[in-house]
């Protein structure tokens, strides 16, 4: 059984403009791929390419418009409860109740996964220590913590529920180099110690290359390839993923058109 199995998955967004006229944008265009249990797959793409939409579809936060997606055999759109037990995520925005402390935020998230106050009193200090969060600051309001610190708490939130599928949506964007390395080390640890399957969506090519077994390129909703990094380089006869992107799309990775910006707003 695959950890993730996606067949012809399609997602469109419709927006109403000027009251009546509607505009339709395909965010995910009939993509198919699989991820083995314990594998780490990175999906690269520019802003508006559909990475976050893919993560939100697998997180049961969106309904699809075609195809299917399964998480450990469970239909992501019909068996949402079963899928939710298996999945957790870390996004670019740490997203917490700002006035509540790290410990309170973690306890709140853990209750939804059935963890009792006794369990969280025991587990939260251990997990915060593992992600390198100073234990004497766990009672401090989140709004007083740095972005890097907040992202560590976000990792702790994901780890606390022992997910077998971890969805990472730009987890290191905006972090300083040291925090970035710490988060990357933690992702490796999650995989090694917890047998977690990881889907990493990022636009950081070096990060994708460093962490993933296979790298995919999502461009304007289309999955152009999903292969080991060396195979990608061989396929296009290039030395870097940046060059592979250029060879596959005819654009540089930094080159965002109005269409790309529009897609980002749309999704």
């Amino acid at each position: 059984m695959y950890a993730v199995e996606v067949h012809n998955l399609r997602k469109e967004f419709v927006r109403r403009e000027k009251g009546v006229r509607t505009r339709r944008r395909v965010a995910i265009k009939d993509i198919s791929f699989t991820i083995e249990r314990g594998e780490c797959v990175a999906i690269l793409g520019q802003n508006g390419s559909g990475k976050s939409t893919l993560v939100r579809l697998l997180s049961t936060l969106l309904l699809h418009d075609g195809g299917e997606a399964r998480v450990f055999g469970h239909d992501a759109f019909k068996e949402t409860r079963a899928v939710r037990r298996l999945v957790n995520r870390v996004s670019v925005e740490a997203s917490f109740f700002k006035k509540m402390s790290a410990a309170e935020n973690l306890a709140y998230a853990a209750r939804f996964y059935g963890m009792t106050p006794r369990q969280t009193r025991r587990e939260i200090p251990v997990i915060l220590e593992r992600v390198g969060f100073p234990s004497d600051r766990r009672g401090e309001a989140m709004e007083h913590l740095s972005r890097g610190m907040q992202q560590k708490v976000a990792l702790a939130r994901a780890l606390l529920t022992s997910p077998v599928l971890l969805l990472l949506d730009e987890p290191t964007t905006g972090l300083d180099p040291r925090s970035k390395l710490e988060v990357q080390d933690f992702i490796r640890e999650m995989r090694a110690l917890h047998d977690a399957t990881i889907l990493l969506c990022t636009h950081d090519m070096a990060e994708a290359e460093a962490l993933a077994d296979r790298v995919g390129l999502l461009d304007r909703g289309e999955l152009l390839f999903l292969e080991p990094v060396d195979d990608v380089k061989d396929r296009f006869g290039v030395d870097t993923l940046e060059e592979a992107f250029f060879a596959a799309t005819g654009r540089t990775f930094e080159d965002e058109t109005e269409e790309d910006k529009d897609r980002e707003v749309f999704a």
């Binding site: 939409t53 409860r81 917490f96």
Partner: protein
């Protein structure tokens, strides 16, 4: 099978406790704001009850009228708290950006909403009781026959219906992130205007009186007034309509919320912005 069901129930109860616990954390963290809002509610209720003081009438009649207005003001405030907290199921989570994490968690939506409702009722009763005591003391109102136990019982039974209607308004910020919360206040106002919040339902036009028969606030206000002013117990004539409306409004509220959630998932609105 039984063990699995027991584990699921345990999981749901832990989750329900988590919702209540989180709301309590937020009340503690925003305690000065809570005090400020309480003062605002006091001021608002004072403006209503002072109307009785401006009427030239014998002291006993003035006392009765002031108490009647106070009950209306307190129910208005209570309903406001219930609707506000239930609406925060979506609006506060969206504002903080936690909505995606909460809505992808394996807790059933009815239990999630019921947890919000449970906290809303507990917190609402404390705030409404404090408001009642403060304003009654301010005007030195006499309520020698008051049956507060019956009044609280009626409020508790009516709260089931209020939670059901609150669930329907809670979904509005999912459909309209900008204006959805305010629409909840409109629902609150409309419900109370047809329910005789400061007056008897008899003074309403006939068509409004028909609507009043399906409003839970009508029976709550009538029963609570009778309990506090006349000392009557909780009357079956008030209880059974509340039970019927509650039995209809809670499933309907859950259905409306679920429909709104599906709409939000279809259109990508179940997220931090937009």
């Amino acid at each position: 099978m039984v063990a699995q069901a027991a584990a699921t129930i345990r999981h749901e109860l832990v989750g329900l406790g988590g919702v209540v616990e989180r709301n309590w954390y937020l009340v503690k963290r925003y305690v000065w704001w809570e005090i400020a809002f309480f003062l605002w509610t006091c001021a608002n209720t004072l403006t209503i009850v002072f109307i009785a003081k401006g009427i030239h009438a014998p002291p006993a009649l003035q006392n009765e009228l002031a108490t009647k207005l106070l009950i209306g003001g307190v129910i208005w405030a209570y309903l406001g708290i219930i609707f506000e907290i239930l609406t925060e199921t979506v609006s506060w989570e969206r504002w903080e950006g936690t909505i995606e994490y909460t809505f992808m968690a394996p807790l059933s939506r009815p239990v999630h909403l019921f947890g919000m409702g449970l906290f809303a009722v507990a917190y609402g009763v404390v705030r409404a009781s404090a408001l009642f005591v403060v304003i009654a003391s301010f005007f030195s109102l006499h309520m020698p026959d008051a049956n507060f136990a019956a009044a609280l019982l009626l409020l508790a039974v009516a709260s089931v219906s209020f939670i059901g209607i609150g669930m329907m308004t809670a979904v509005l910020p999912l459909i309209s992130p900008e204006k959805g919360t305010q629409l909840g206040f409109i629902a609150q106002g409309l419900m109370l205007v047809v329910s005789g919040v400061y007056y008897s339902v008899d003074v309403l036009p006939q068509w409004m009186q028909w609507i009043a028969t399906i409003s839970p606030a009508t029976y709550a206000l009538r029963g609570i007034r009778a309990a506090i002013l006349e000392g009557t117990g909780a009357q079956w004539a008030d209880i059974w309509p509340l039970l019927v409306i509650g039995a209809v409004s809670v499933p309907l509220g859950l259905y409306v919320f679920r429909t709104g959630e599906r709409y939000a998932k279809r259109h990508g609105k179940l997220k931090r912005s937009g």
